[in-house]
């Protein structure tokens, strides 16, 4: 009897502590998710009553919607190029910062701070820096006699320009690698040096294997971040195109030429510009599926995230 009462009291206590989150998850995650699935099968313009539409929205998005496949291709590009470069660059900077002795603290801070810059401000700053006509970068390139790319105004260069912006903000990846690198035991390095191993061999056979889980973690979280990549491409497109959207001209998603389109932007375009709620929900579900697939991957590899370490 006493044990039962105790357990019941424990459960009540647990529930009380968890109650805000339980309510929040139900209200702001489970309910909207169920709604999203529901609306993906409906035709609803946000105004008249919704009507059942079957798979129409799904067919439209996958077959007829002009922005869907470019957005997926862009996402693939960003994953293959941006995430890879971020991980490599972050690792390199992590190595640099752990090896430098004088001024290491200052260096760490300088390299980390751009990560904290508000995305809108940072993107606009880069839109200016990389402005093909008046920006300092092209100005310097011109003086050196080098070719001056169109950056955010050129479809071939817009994603590389975004990548440059992402590399400037690589501080978060750098710090993760720093911590991991510092954790590799000195003894291993000393033993290897004694055996005559050079710097590169030490890196290949001691450092890399030790930090492999971090590399994997960074790559997977990088992919998940790419699923959320919204503010930078949309702001870059808006600022670079100079289109106002008020003088009878529509705002052009993915400027230039759909090269900066990403899946989250499609939700905005379909849901809040065209008011095609159903199709917006279809894209939302695609986003959900991809993000959750990679999240499951992380949780599988890092069981310590969920359970006790």
């Amino acid at each position: 009897m006493a044990a039962d009462t105790y357990r019941r009291r424990e459960r009540v206590r647990t529930l009380l502590f968890l109650s805000p989150w339980l309510l929040g998850t139900g209200l702001f995650f489970l309910y909207p998710l169920a709604s999203t699935v529901y609306f993906s099968f409906m035709k609803y313009d946000g105004f008249s009553a919704p009507t059942y539409d079957g798979l129409d929205n799904w067919v439209y998005v996958f077959r007829d919607y002009a922005f869907f496949w470019p957005a997926l291709r862009n996402t693939l590009w960003l994953v293959l190029v941006m995430v890879t470069l971020r991980v490599i660059f972050g690792l390199s900077l992590g190595l640099l910062v752990t090896k430098v002795k004088t001024g290491a603290g200052l260096l760490r801070t300088v390299l980390y701070i751009p990560f904290l810059a508000p995305p809108v401000a940072a993107t606009m700053a880069f839109a200016f820096l990389l402005n093909p006509g008046t920006g300092p970068v092209n100005s310097i390139l011109g003086k050196l006699g080098l070719p001056e790319p169109g950056w955010f105004n050129d479809p071939t260069w817009s994603k590389p320009a975004l990548t440059l912006l992402a590399l400037w903000g690589v501080g978060d990846v750098m710090v993760i690698f720093m911590a991991a690198l510092l954790d590799v035991s000195k003894e291993q390095y000393e033993a290897a040096s004694l055996d005559g191993a050079g710097a590169w061999s030490r890196f290949r056979f001691i450092t890399l294997p030790n930090i492999r889980p971090i590399v994997v973690f960074s790559v997977v979280t990088g992919v998940i971040q790419t699923m959320q990549y919204y503010t930078q491409p949309i702001v870059a497109g808006k600022v670079a195109s100079g289109v106002i959207g008020g003088s009878g001209q529509q705002f052009e998603p993915g400027y230039p030429e759909k090269s900066t389109l990403t899946l989250p932007q499609l939700v905005y375009n379909l849901g809040f510009q065209r008011f095609d709620t159903g199709s917006a929900c279809v894209i939302a579900l695609v986003l959900f599926a991809i993000s959750m697939a990679f999240t499951a991957l992380i949780m599988r590899r890092n069981a310590g995230l969920v359970g006790e370490p």
Binding site: D172, A179, M227
Partner: protein, 295 residues
Amino acid sequence: MTVGELTPVSALMTDVPPRQVRRLSAEWVALHTVAISVGLLFLLPFVFISLTSLMSDEQTLTRDLWPRTWEWHNLLDVWKTPGFLTWWRNTLVYAVAGTVLTLVSSFPVAYALARFRFRGRNLAMGVVIATMMLPPQVVIVPMYLVWAKQLHLTGTLWPLIIPLAFGDAFSIFLLRQFLLTIPGEYIDAAKVDGCGDFRAMLYVVVPMAKPAIAAVALFQFFYCWNDYFGPQIYASENPGAWTLSYGLESFKSAHHTDWNLTMAATLMIMAPVIIVFFFAQRAFIEGVTLTGVKG
């Protein structure tokens, strides 16, 4: 909050390995040259932004790198931009209210997930991580419809602030990782003294968790300060509710803003974040635990 903020900032403050006898070797020179170059490269954008913000109207549309005249008044003119003060106020309200609500609601949840044993605990943690990684665009459409049509709260920042009173997944995650490291003896001692779980948490654990709380507070503050998508969806129809991020982009896309003023505005928006970070570094030093990356 996105997983982009998964940063064990404590790693910034970890002790640097002891100095070896400094040899002016080629390696040392090369290393430090690279370090200085990279550091300068990272600072360069800030330099150009600052220089441009001090240029005159005529000069901004030229290729000049160095201001011919130093228009310090640009930095003040930004504040006179219609709406700029409103955006500041709104952003501050959003960030402060959001942070306070997040902390108050997330701490008990993290505590329960760290210290209570119950069936479904692993499932709950799984859900926390899943919601942490979830792009906000997945649920925005129905959420917007509810806020707009049922609750009529669009054109305000309430749809962004209220959900934070129900816990934030990333904050819960970080706090939980930290709370796992607190030895049980402290809590047991308090309980022996007659404290219930809640009081034990409040009077024993919270004071011990100050560095973690500070770190989480900072991350949540930055997240709200930098948020663009949320205000774009909910506050765009009412310029009186715009935040700095949305106002800045909206204004530039609209009219009348030259690059010099825009860069000055950019500085005004980046500066608080950087200043807060400098002062708060100390708060991180005692160590926000690594986010279980080592798994």
